[in-house]
């Protein structure tokens, strides 16, 4: 049984299942909800299967069709990929459950195929072993995401989608140019091979610049974040959740991989890492301040994403001396942010669904009627603020530890300040849960599945605070952070 379990090509299933599911949903629009849910659950099962394989046998490597790089498509999964895949599966399930109740009939037929394509693209991206595949999955992901944003219709959503599309394409093209140069320079697109072959050269520098620029644009790092708030704020709630939780993380994941495997060992100069850290710090402050200034709930959450992405980049300047700790921190922050932010957007969706608007100042009537949603928002907020016990706290703690061992007081200050600002904007919303408002407002009921989906995600973000030891040991499989240094 165990043997059979390990022989199934789970990784391929991870990509093919959602793509096939998307096609079927497209062809069979009547049962789209059921089909979609089945596909998502099957995909999640595949993640468990793959996890089983990786935990038992170590790093997973699979050339599809036996072609091998550079022409064929290689699949590669280590602890880091597995974590990302699990995150995608978990968030995906909750969002899928939420979506069955959220969308109207005519929207479901469009939502499900697009979402399943997006899921397939994400899985493929996390499993990719070569940089060109990454480009293709980027594009698939990007196009599906843009279409999903446009799903809401209306001026804001279409404008947001358009902005997003332009930014995504620009980022992809920059990245592709980088791929071209890398291939020209070192003759392969396989990440593992590249990491053996690269050496300092002008080509490498050009590549570094182009790829980083493209990926930063896609990750929406300050000051390239301009497209994110309109897109994330105007999309339908589950789509916002997907974008903020998963899509942004995908490009960060690639940047992380490239940096770890290709650039970091070669680039002696610390200025690039410092620059990334600086931008991250600026993002934390700027995003938080902007979030605090917003009067609309979804924009607030979107700007919070801008800020939280900044945290991830603080790991770059810290990695030089405290590699494992810093990277673990970034990854942990990314995952807990995914759970928490998805929960937040879903909660916001509930509030909008119930009250018909997302003006923060008028939320009081709404929040009190939806205690579960308020709870979800609050729990997610705890993680975003980095308060214990939550995944966000663990991530922040590790990051602080890394910064403190190197006495990077500037970054420490940024982290602390970011936490304070986060507290301010989270409680700006939560304060309305406790006012004495008359309930005279016109309102619709919110299906229980929508409330529970948000709450489950938020509880996941909290629970992550207690799972640091197993999760970090899982990430360690395959030694993705390269250096096996001893912790202080």
């Amino acid at each position: 049984m165990g043997a059979m379990f390990t022989t199934i090509p789970w990784a391929s299933a991870l990509i093919l299942l959602p793509l096939a599911g998307g096609m079927i949903c497209f062809l069979w629009p009547r049962m789209v909800n059921a089909l979609g849910l089945i596909t998502v659950f099957a995909t999640a099962l595949s993640v468990i299967g793959l996890g089983w394989q990786i935990i038992n046998d170590g790093v997973y490597h699979h050339p599809i069709g036996g072609w091998g790089a550079p022409l064929g498509i290689d699949l590669y999964a280590d602890g880091l990929s597995l974590l990302m895949l699990s995150m995608t599966a978990l968030v995906g399930i909750c969002i899928s459950i939420y979506s069955t109740a959220y969308f109207k009939r005519e929207h479901t037929t469009r939502f499900w195929p697009l979402w399943l394509f997006l899921l397939g693209a994400l899985n493929a991206l996390f499993l990719s072993a070569d940089i060109f595949n990454v480009y293709v999955t980027f594009e698939l992901m990007g196009l599906a995401a843009v279409a999903l944003v446009a799903l809401a219709g209306g001026r804001d959503a279409l404008g947001g989608a358009m902005r997003y599309l332009l930014a995504a394409l620009l980022g992809s093209l920059a990245y592709l140019l980088g791929v071209a140069l890398l291939y020209h320079g070192f003759g392969t697109v396989d990440i593992a091979l590249l990491s053996q072959r690269v050496e300092p050269s002008p080509v490498l520098w050009a590549t570094l610049g182009l790829m980083s620029a493209g990926l930063l644009l896609k990750t929406a790092l300050f000051p390239l974040h301009f497209w994110l708030p309109p897109a994330h704020a105007s999309a339908p709630a589950p789509v916002s959740a997907l974008l903020s939780a998963l899509v942004v993380k995908a490009s960060f994941y690639i940047l992380l991989r490239l940096w770890l495997e290709i650039f970091e060992p070669v680039v002696d100069d610390k200025s690039v890492a410092s620059l990334l850290g600086l931008l991250g710090a600026a993002a934390v402050i700027w995003g938080s301040v902007q979030a605090l200034r917003q009067t609309r709930l979804k924009l607030l959450i979107a700007y919070s994403t801008v800020a939280q992405i900044g945290y991830l980049f603080l790991a770059f300047p810290l990695a030089a001396a405290a590699g494992v700790t810093a990277w673990s921190a970034a990854v942990y922050l990314a995952v807990s942010h995914a759970l928490a932010k998805a929960a937040m957007f879903l909660a916001a969706g509930n509030l909008i669904h119930f009250g018909g608007h997302d003006r923060i100042a008028d939320l009081d009537r709404v929040v009190q009627r939806l205690p579960l949603t308020a709870g979800a928002f609050a729990l997610a907020g705890v993680s975003i603020m980095g308060l214990p016990p939550s995944g966000g706290f663990i991530g922040k703690w590790l990051m602080l530890e890394a910064a403190l061992t190197q006495e990077r007081w500037d970054l420490v200050a940024v982290m602390i300040l970011g936490g304070l600002l986060a507290g301010a904007y989270i409680f700006k919303v939560l304060g309305y849960a406790f006012t004495q408002a008359d309930i005279t407002h016109e309102s619709k009921t919110v299906p229980a599945s929508m409330e529970w989906a948000a709450l489950l995600l938020a509880m996941g973000a909290i629970l992550l605070g207690f799972l640091a030891v197993p999760v970090l040991s899982l990430v360690g499989i395959g030694d993705p952070f390269g250096v096996s240094e001893v912790r202080p």
């Binding site: 602390i416 507290g423 207690f466 030891v469 202080p488």
Partner: protein
């Protein structure tokens, strides 16, 4: 199955689980909610009693869960933790009864009692924390659990107070996080150890950093302990319902901060090491200043609860003062005040709540002759007030006695003058209240009188303050009996702080 290892966790669960169930209860299920509340409180009391007996006989109770690599979540029941746990368990019980009476018929009770239970859960967690990170975890949770209680009324004033509270506490939490992480990066451990065992091996070059860490930690805890100038939130927080104020001032928030200071000085740094660093002296001065300042401000408040709040600012710093004087006897005085102040202050707040709830009295200027209308309530108030002044044989006297002796013992005679000044000011702001209540003629009509038949007020409102007042008197009168707070504080000092 070794139950000893899970007892601390069970103590926490005994209020956590009822709290979570209460959240899910419908508003009108009063009976079930009451049963849940009270049974949780009783179970907790029983567990705590069991552990008290065990620890007295030298047992150890420790729950340990992995939180991070090399960093565990530790719940440990030592004498000091149990001291605080017992206080919370007993006063939780009393306050629950009071809250049930106080909130009868008001909206959002499920929410209230849910957060109420969470609040106690986190307080007990703070008490049982066996290392700094566990402490930090529960300390931050405490902030989150008390916020909904604070703004429970939902008025604009309540929301403003809530914002102020958060601004202070989240800032304090950030300082604490920074200090904790920094300490960890230097030492690689955060375990509480008597005499700050793990810091003794730290080289001289780290001493400046350690001083800053001490300041950070004390500032972080000082926010909740309302050390001047970090006390601003406390008087504003008076908009909360009376049981919340009572809990806030006597058990949960303020006390958690003071307890944190005790932990930092004794179990993180170690009192001798802290004295070597030269940080206890300034802390003592700050505490002394807070004591005087709080009393001075209290003089000018007409709002009863605000006056009591400033009185808390002053009184809680006795604990800090006792700890910072850094002698065995002063330590006993400081530690024992954790319980003494709790008993006295909770009595005063219950009484203030009774006045507001029964007669609509919120201001001291409205209190004329109230002693004739509500003799039992005001008798309890009188005991609390005299205790605060330090009149023998009430609990507050014992504290001042030990603080004074402790200060003499280590040659810090100036503390005596601070104590005297504080007593004088306490008398100056409590005696006029008592004079009004007992000796002025009552007005023709009270501001907003509720009818309780022949009784002076509802039983659930009357019994708690009377009980806590009797306790405050009893712990002073029966101070030499075993298991009295003072004897237990001596046990703590002997076993944990000043081991031979």
């Amino acid at each position: 199955m070794n139950w000893d290892a899970w007892l601390p966790l069970l103590v926490i669960l005994s209020s956590l689980l009822p709290g979570l169930i209460i959240f899910a209860l419908a508003e009108e299920r009063v009976r079930l909610r009451t049963v849940l509340n009270l049974s949780g409180a009783l179970i907790k009391l029983a567990l705590v009693g069991w552990m008290l007996w065990g620890v007295y006989n030298g047992n150890h109770y420790e729950t340990r869960l992995a939180l991070l690599p090399n960093l565990d979540l530790v719940l440990r029941a030592g004498p000091l933790s149990l001291f605080f746990v017992t206080l919370s368990a007993v006063l939780w019980m009393v306050t629950t009864v009071y809250a049930i009476g106080y909130l009868e018929g008001s909206p959002h009770r499920s929410r209230f009692f849910g957060f109420f239970s969470l609040c106690v859960t986190t307080t007990v967690g703070v008490a049982l924390a066996g290392n700094l990170i566990t402490f930090l975890l529960f300390y931050e949770l405490l902030t989150l659990a008390t916020y909904p209680l604070l703004v429970h009324r939902g008025t604009e004033a309540a929301r403003r107070a809530g914002r102020t509270y958060l601004a202070y506490t989240i800032f304090g939490g950030a300082l604490l996080l920074l200090g904790t992480a920094w300490l960890y990066s230097i030492t690689g451990t955060l375990e509480f150890a008597p005499q700050g065992g793990f810091l003794n091996g730290i080289g001289k070059e780290h001493h400046p950093a350690l001083i800053i860490i001490f300041i950070l930690l004390i500032a972080g805890f000082g926010v909740k302990a309302a050390l001047v100038p970090l006390h601003g939130w406390l008087p504003k927080a008076m908009v909360a319902p009376a049981p919340v104020s009572a809990l806030l001032h006597a058990v949960a928030v303020v006390k958690a901060g003071a307890f944190g200071i005790v932990r930092v000085v004794y179990d993180v740094f170690g009192v001798e090491f802290a004295a070597d660093l030269g940080v206890t002296g300034p802390l003592a001065w700050l505490a002394a200043f807070t004591i005087i300042y709080g009393s001075l401000r209290a003089l000018f408040q007409d709002d009863l609860k605000r006056r009591l709040a400033f009185s808390t600012v002053s009184q809680v710093s006795y604990i800090t003062l006792g700890v910072a004087i850094a002698g065995p006897i002063a330590t006993i005085g400081g530690v024992v005040h954790l319980v003494h102040q709790g008993l006295m202050k909770i009595t005063l707040f219950f009484c203030a709540g009774n006045l507001a709830e029964t007669l609509g009295i919120h201001k001291i200027s409205e209190m004329n002759g109230v002693g004739r209308r509500m003799p039992w309530t005001m008798a309890a108030f009188t005991i609390g007030a005299f205790g605060m002044i330090g009149a023998p044989p009430i609990a507050g006297f014992i504290t001042k006695w030990y603080l004074g002796l402790g200060a003499l013992e280590v040659g810090q005679d100036w503390v005596i003058f601070v104590l005297a000044g504080s007593s004088l000011l306490n008398a100056a702001y409590f005696l006029p209240i008592l004079h009004r209540a007992w000796f002025q003629e009552p007005p023709d009509a009270w501001p907003e009188e509720h009818n309780f038949g022949r009784k002076e007020t509802a039983w659930a409102l009357l019994l708690p303050p009377v009980l806590t007042a009797i306790l405050a008197l009893a712990v002073g009168l029966l101070v030499t009996l075993p298991f009295s707070p003072l004897e237990w504080a001596k046990l703590i000092a002997a076993r944990e702080f000043y081991q031979p």
